[in-house]
């Protein structure tokens, strides 16, 4: 920040108070250097062992943790199986046979037309939508958490307005930790000048809930009552694993 322009007074007052107190202990140049280093480093702190498993174990852990958080999970062999898996889930849960899906190219590619009884519309969520289908940025194994990002073709309202939310996740998109999720984001959301932080990043662990009445857990407070995850395919090859030894690590 340059100090050439006159500062608005509240800002100057607050920053001035902070600065004068900190100046008593360190000098500003040292503080700038220290902050700059940390921001440039983006060093991961301690990542729990359960967030560092081999890929296949990571997928299993993801599924288990997501289920513990009251999500439901189906695994299918290939992306082409997704529309049928969506229909099946709707039927089994007595949900209306229509979905609003993200206008996401990943989802465009699926053979929706094969599901004759299923109505599929693409777009942002409307308040009347019963079920949404979106694609994930990744899944985080350590807590069974989905990481979803917003974009032109990934409207955020789909994650919150409908009663049921179905998320499609490839098994090779399952990472160990939140840090892995950020790393993947920085690698994939790139532009010439670096990477772009999506407007919204949603970490979602299970369906909406509230314990605000007598600390008794109820599902479906304001967001979806049901969160269903369709995991497609198998985990990436173990060759890419950093450390296969952790694979039988109990949680």
């Amino acid at each position: 920040m340059t100090d050439a322009a006159p500062l608005p007074s509240a800002r100057a007052g607050i920053l001035g108070r902070i600065q004068s107190r900190l100046d008593a202990r360190t000098d500003r140049t040292a503080r700038e250097a220290s902050a700059k280093e940390r921001l440039a480093d983006r060093r991961a702190n301690l990542v729990p062992a359960r967030g560092q498993l081999a890929p296949a174990d990571q997928v299993n852990l993801f599924v288990r943790m997501a289920e513990e958080a009251d999500a439901t999970v189906t695994r299918v062999a290939a992306a082409t199986d997704v529309p049928a898996a969506v229909s099946d889930w709707l039927r089994q849960n007595n949900r209306p046979m229509n979905v609003r899906r993200a206008p996401d190219p990943t989802l465009d590619a699926y053979p929706w037309a094969a599901e004759a009884l299923l109505t599929v519309e693409a777009g942002k969520a409307e308040s009347t939508d019963e079920t949404s289908v979106t694609a994930a940025h990744c899944g985080v194994a350590e807590t069974g958490t989905l990481m979803l990002t917003s974009a032109e073709d990934r409207p955020t309202t789909l994650n919150f307005l409908p009663e049921s939310h179905i998320v499609v996740l490839r098994a090779d998109q399952v990472v160990g930790s939140y840090e892995d999720g950020w790393t993947l984001l920085r690698q994939t959301q790139t532009v010439d000048s670096g990477w772009i932080m999506p407007r919204t990043v949603n970490f979602i662990t299970g369906p909406s809930r509230s314990a605000d009445i007598e600390q008794t857990l109820q599902l479906g407070a304001h967001g979806p009552r049901q969160l269903h995850i369709i995991v497609v395919g198998e985990a990436a090859d173990d060759d890419n694993a950093e450390d296969g030894e952790n694979s039988d690590n109990p949680v």
Partner: protein, 489 residues
Amino acid sequence: MTSAAQMTPRGFKKQASAALEDVSLQRALGNVRDGFIAKRSKAVAKLPEFDDLRDQAREIKDHVIENLDVYLERFEQNVVMQGGTVHWAADTKAAQEAVLTICRLVGARTVTKGKSMIGEEIHVNPFLEENGIEPVETDLGEYIIQLREEPPSHIIAPAIHVNKEQVADAFLEHHTDLPRDRNLTDNAALLAEARAKLRDRFLEADVGITGANFLIAETGSTVIVTNEGNGDLTQTLPRIHIVLASIEKVVPTLEDASTLFRVLARSATGQEMSVYTTVSTGPRRPGDLDGPEQFHVVLVDNGRSKLIGSDWQDILRCIRCGACLNHCPVYSAVGGHAYGSTYPGPMGKVLTPVIMGIKEAGQLPNASSFCGRCEEVCPMHIPLPKMMRHWREEEFNRGLSPRLGRWALGFWSRAAGMPWLYRLGARMSIAWMSRKARKLGRPFGAGQLPLAGGWTGHRDFPAPQGITFQSAWRKAKREPSRRPLGPGR
């Protein structure tokens, strides 16, 4: 009886006594003990690295505070770069004005709100109402207490003092368009009704106000952590998103925030991860189908900057998980309202004098059992009892109320010299033990008194006789009543 909204820190003694008499409150408080504590310890046991993560969490926030000016500037720079605006507010009034100015610019009539303790601290709801704007709380607990015209009594479970019959009463009174004879006896029906009622409010609001659990300097992002999804609807559907955040919420990187996620949910609700952790960066982008058109962050100081380099600096590490409240024998005996301040419990005893001044809030740091449980469970290793003692010294040095200062010298060991406090202590334990005994279906043996090791060593502990003791106590000489000093909010 003083209504919760009129309670003040000065009235603590009287309010605490009244809380002990309040049968329905005592029933509700059982949920603190029986719920939060067990859930937290289960979650902690499942993560072997938990203690190491706490150490790192402390280091992260210490590093931020040591370099706070630089991180705040960097945060601001990045918010602006992403198309958002930062408003700096030195105090409550400035923060209220900032919010009102933004609301007026878009001619806002209704504002939806996600849960925000800063919102409570700056009393934004009454202020908006005075200015003709309707604030609608959307977190279920906050919604309930808004209908009941009460402040929250817990920083993460605002309606913990309310029983479900009282929720049903509030809904019957306010949702007058629905049939009066509808069934509101079970929790699911209550939740469904609130969900349906609030759905329309989300869709019609002009502005959404949320708090922030963290601010990220690296990206200019704000983070909310919720379970209901109300915060996300609040910030995604209206045209304007206003984030209320205090200056110490900033952390350097997404990685640093991730470490804090791991300790927050486990300490707060005993979840592995809260359902929704949302990182927001600027307004909607060109081509986006939804999201707010404007993104404003109001950065509130309210006395915090003065804590740097003081005896209370460490409270700036607080991530508002509520664990210190849940594990506090005083809190779980009297509930949150008795404190008469926005923030109750141990963290509130340290923070309230910062916000309201030691003259107003001096009673709070004194009314402690100094059992140390709060510091033990605090994920950020904040030395709460030590800081309460520092306030007591400060109060003494300023010649304020030395008589009250004596309380701090130890709870049970000095209880004989302080009849009121002794009675409160005994009552607290009775209330808690009879709840516990009811659950166990048998009375307590002396060795089964958790937290009481250091206390009961000093004197024989009276057998808990439940209501008999309580009625005996009721007849005991009352403290001369104190007139509340007008609304504290």
